[in-house]
């Protein structure tokens, strides 16, 4: 079995009887045992139950019983997804910081489609932080350069997929936490529309801005995972009953004629030169595929960042106030400062921010989606920076660094729009470059379709890190 197969390829091989679910699970557990001491992608490895599940799936396959499109596919889950029988640290020092009445709906749906749970993945403390560090469980390490950041907060999710420790992972994204590690680790990650995937059973950070989504090697892999995860859930009042498209079938529709907007100013200001070249190259590729590319002006993204940030700060402080009040010494200084900031937000300003967010979402529909079908923008302002340097200096410098790293992703959390991060080359130092495709609300199908077409025409997503 190759070290870095795609989820779709393995699912097809299992279906064709070329490889068994137990072989696939063992392959990944062996890689975790060999590599994760160095990479720290996992907080909890659930080897025994994974093998037991794989044996059950193998027996089912032998009887011609297929659970779904992910039959026998090993996945891993950010350690804020509640799964009965496993601890849920949420990246904190406390092993079981979060419990829920039911297992995480997204996980339950993936397992119902035949996936095998390998375990729970590293993350930044309380899902706060854009760079991927964790003082309690060890910093997750970037497979392309272990001294560089992984991006956060779904750091372990990015590392596990990039290093071939899992075929896919679930991440969460409140200000970029799926797309930042996907971009930093050279994989594909989708933040769906707000409400598209249930948040039930996942630790909340900001109920207005939280999204769960798939992280995998390719857009096709993400489509297969999203198909299982998406749809209304009575356990999450914010989940949407908007119809779920056939994301996989939609991948085959043509890209020709789609209008792709490239907003300049904010998104390209201060961008690293290699990153800019990578993003512009990706946009040029979309044009060769028949997309109509045009520059576009957006409603002020910095204002969106400020509004989204204020809402997130306020809601996260309300949610985690007890930890902050009773055990502040357990928290990293960065996390504590972020939570303390939220305590100072007056109700008046929080409510005005929510009203402004609604107005900006409507303005975006009116001013942007009347002109284009998609946006193409960078994800991160530079390739993943060195970890040690990112953690150095006084607190205000650390906060400013983290805010800068997530400034290109946060606007789309406030707007609730689907956004897909895709690799688009490598820097001279061998670090991944990335761009994101942003679509209309509930139009994950188009975002994934264009991402799939881009990956058919390019090969960055097929490159493999040298892990020895």
């Amino acid at each position: 079995m190759p070290d870095f197969p795609s989820l779709a390829a393995v699912a097809a091989s299992i279906r064709q009887g070329k490889v068994s679910p137990v072989e696939v699970a063992r392959h990944h557990l062996d890689r975790i045992a060999r590599l994760d001491g160095r990479l720290r992608a996992f907080i909890t490895v659930d080897a025994d139950r994974a093998l037991a599940a794989a044996r059950g799936l193998e027996a089912d396959a032998g009887r011609g019983r297929w659970r779904g499109a992910l039959h026998g596919v090993p996945l891993a889950f950010k350690d804020l997804c509640f799964i009965r029988g496993l601890p849920t640290s949420c990246g904190t020092r406390t092993a079981e910081y979060f419990t829920a009445e039911q297992d995480c709906t997204a996980v339950t749906r993936l397992l119902a489609a035949g996936a095998v749970c390998l375990g729970k993945l590293n993350m930044t403390e309380l899902a706060m932080g854009a760079l991927g560090d964790n003082p309690h469980h060890g910093h997750a390490r970037n497979p392309w350069a272990v001294e560089h950041c992984t991006g956060g907060s779904s750091s372990g999710s990015g590392v596990a997929v990039a290093a071939g420790l899992a075929l896919g992972a679930v991440g969460t994204d409140t200000g970029g936490s799926i797309r930042l590690p996907a971009a930093s680790c050279g994989i594909t990650g989708l933040k769906p529309t707000y409400g598209r995937v249930s948040r039930a059973g996942a630790m909340p950070l900001s109920w207005s801005n939280d999204h769960l989504g798939p992280m995998a090697r390719t857009a096709l892999d993400c489509a297969l995972m999203l198909q299982a995860m998406a749809g209304a859930d009575p356990l999450d009042a914010t989940s949407s009953s908007h119809p779920v498209a056939d994301f996989v079938a939609a991948l085959e529709a043509p890209v020709r004629g789609l209008r792709v907007g490239v907003p300049l100013d904010f998104f390209f200001q201060g961008l690293d030169a290699e990153m800019e070249a990578g993003v512009r190259g990706a946009v040029a590729t979309l044009a060769t595929l028949g997309a109509h590319v045009a520059e576009i002006r957006l409603p002020d993204p910095q204002v969106l960042n400020d509004i989204t940030g204020l809402i997130s700060r306020s809601e996260s402080s309300a949610l985690h106030a007890r930890l902050l009040r009773e055990r502040p010494q357990e928290l990293d200084a960065f996390t504590r400062a972020r939570l303390e900031l939220g305590l100072g937000v007056p109700a008046y300003d929080y409510l005005q921010a929510l009203r402004l967010r609604a107005r900006m979402a409507r303005a975006f529909t009116r001013e942007v989606w009347s002109l284009v079908d998609l946006l193409a923008v960078p994800v991160i302002p530079e390739p993943a920076p060195p970890l040690r340097a990112a953690l150095e200096g006084p607190l205000e410098e650390r906060i400013a660094r983290q805010s800068r790293f997530s400034r290109l992703t946060r606007p789309f959390n406030g707007l609730g729009l689907p956004a897909l991060s895709l690799p688009c080359g490598f820097s001279a130092a061998g670090l991944p470059l990335a761009f994101q495709l942003v679509g209309r609300p509930f139009d994950e199908a188009t975002v994934l379709r264009v991402g799939h077409a881009y990956q058919r025409a390019t090969d960055s997503h097929t490159r493999e890190p040298d892990l020895g």
């Binding site: 499109a69 939609a250 009203r355 529909t365 607190l395 609300p441 199908a445």
Partner: protein
Amino acid sequence: MSENKFLQAELAALLGVIERLAGELSLAEEPARFAAALEDGAPAAGGRAAPGPGSPR
């Protein structure tokens, strides 16, 4: 700048943005309109429906 002063400055900046923009809001603007904006912004229906849960591909 001390940690406390830095946090106060960051908060003041955020609140300043809200104060500047809130004056432009109409009385009809409520947070619940966000969900409606997502629905209104969605493309017209017409794509293929998803297969049932667990359907093989």
